[in-house]
């Protein structure tokens, strides 16, 4: 039988007395819910209606000023150069430029989806300990080794578009342990958890790759500037 802990609530006037039984590895504590509540009608309902109206108005204005693109009729014999996927897949298509199709088109997106699905089942760091809280030296060593490995790998494949954000994030992660870091920054950065760092890295990479694929790729998937080629969404 696992060990249980009894934790009495301290303010009996606000809340009826409750008993909570918690498993030891659960970090979440029951807090006293002192939040003020309001009626759903009208407070939530009106906000929702206004939100709906704002959304419709914004999109209607957008639709009045910008027409959807329509190119010539589909012609299998006339391959445009470059042939681009919808914008949200252009990050993948950009990866395809660096890695073989199995890696870029299957392995990487597959792993990303897998990782996303299993995130909540990894019950690590439930206390939300910051990455550099605790034993920074060991963390730093591990981080540096890991980053060097990744950067070496990316350099081998010449994936500069991923390498740059990786290095920027690495700098941000090690910044608190460097003397010139302003204390206010340090306070914040120190508390960022590893999972947040990883997610931020993923988002940065995804956004940068998508932007490059959408705006900076021209005929032959060569680098161009956005004003040199049109963009169709």
């Amino acid at each position: 039988m696992t060990e249980y802990r009894l934790e009495p609530s301290s303010d009996a006037t606000a809340t009826p007395k409750r008993l909570a039984i918690l498993r030891p590895e659960t970090a979440a504590r029951v807090l006293v819910d002192r939040d003020e509540t309001v009626m759903t009608v009208p407070h939530l309902l009106l906000r929702e209606i206004i939100l709906i109206q704002i959304c419709v108005v914004a999109l209607a204005v957008l639709s009045l000023f910008f027409d959807s693109p329509l190119e010539g009729i589909a012609d299998p014999t006339n391959t445009p150069n470059p042939a681009k996927a919808p914008w949200y897949f252009l990050g993948l298509q950009e990866l395809l430029h660096y890695f073989p199709p199995v890696v870029a088109g299957v392995l990487i997106p597959g792993l990303v989806v897998m990782a996303m699905v299993v995130i909540p089942y990894f019950r690590t760091n439930l206390e939300d300990r910051g990455f550099l809280e605790g034993s920074p030296r060991r963390q730093m060593t591990l981080l540096t080794m890991f980053t060097v490995a990744i950067v070496a790998f990316l350099a081998a494949w010449r994936v500069w578009a991923v390498m740059v954000p990786t290095l920027v994030l690495y700098s941000a992660m090690v910044l608190p342990s460097l003397p010139p870091c302003p204390p206010s920054w340090r306070r914040r950065l120190v508390r960022v958890t590893l999972s947040d760092w990883i997610m931020t890295w993923f988002v940065a990479v995804a956004v940068i790759l998508t932007l490059i694929g959408t705006f900076f790729r021209g005929p032959g998937w060569k680098w161009i500037w956005p004003w040199q080629g049109g963009v169709s969404l």
């Binding site: 970090a27 009626m39 709906i52 919808p86 199995v102 299957v106 969404l233």
Partner: protein, 248 residues
Amino acid sequence: MKLPESLIESRVWRSIVRHGIRATNRNRVMAVMESLVLHLHPARVRRRSLEASRTYFLGAISLILFAILTATGLLLMLYYHPSVPQAYDDMKELQFTVSNGMFLRNLHRWPAHAMVIVVFLHMLRVFYHRAYRPPREFNWVIGVVLLLLTLLLSYTGYLLPWDQLAFWAVSVGTNMVKAMPLLGPPIRFLLLGGNVVGENALLRFYVLHCVMLPLAIMFLVALHLWRVRKDGGLAGAGRTGRSERGEA
């Protein structure tokens, strides 16, 4: 007795709206309890949950976009034939002869793009707010599936205008699928109804886009919202107090 009052007191009115309309708290509670639509909400909500920084309304906006897309999509279906070359001609008809046709099409395309972005942002918000933590693990998984479905929905819709943009975007996309070892080619064949992007693919994408994927999304959204309520309403930002918020 004044006319409006007599109207409101009438049996017909009362058979539809069982409570009165006066702004009493009882009536407000009743408005939620008695309404099918509002039944998703509790009668009272925490004031802090209404703050923008809690959610940035991203989930709500996703749902609104989905509703707009459903409405405009249904109207577009009245003018669209999933066949070659009629599909493309229909786009031209929308532009040139259908009243407000272009507006309708724009009001389907731009929200579609917006929805991909908003759903992604919604996922980020949930992640950074730690809202995926127990007991909400499964709802997070549903969310991931919804994100994938949103991408698929947008992607299948991308082919329907049957222009060069659509055709080659879909060709490029489905060629990526082909790279998958072993399963790739059969999946691609299944998706396209053949080995090339042709009329069969158009029909499949049409059915996926208009029927299968929206039904799947609706079902999962219902589940998603249901779980949000069952798991204790909106989750707040995780950092405050370093713990999960909960009602239990």
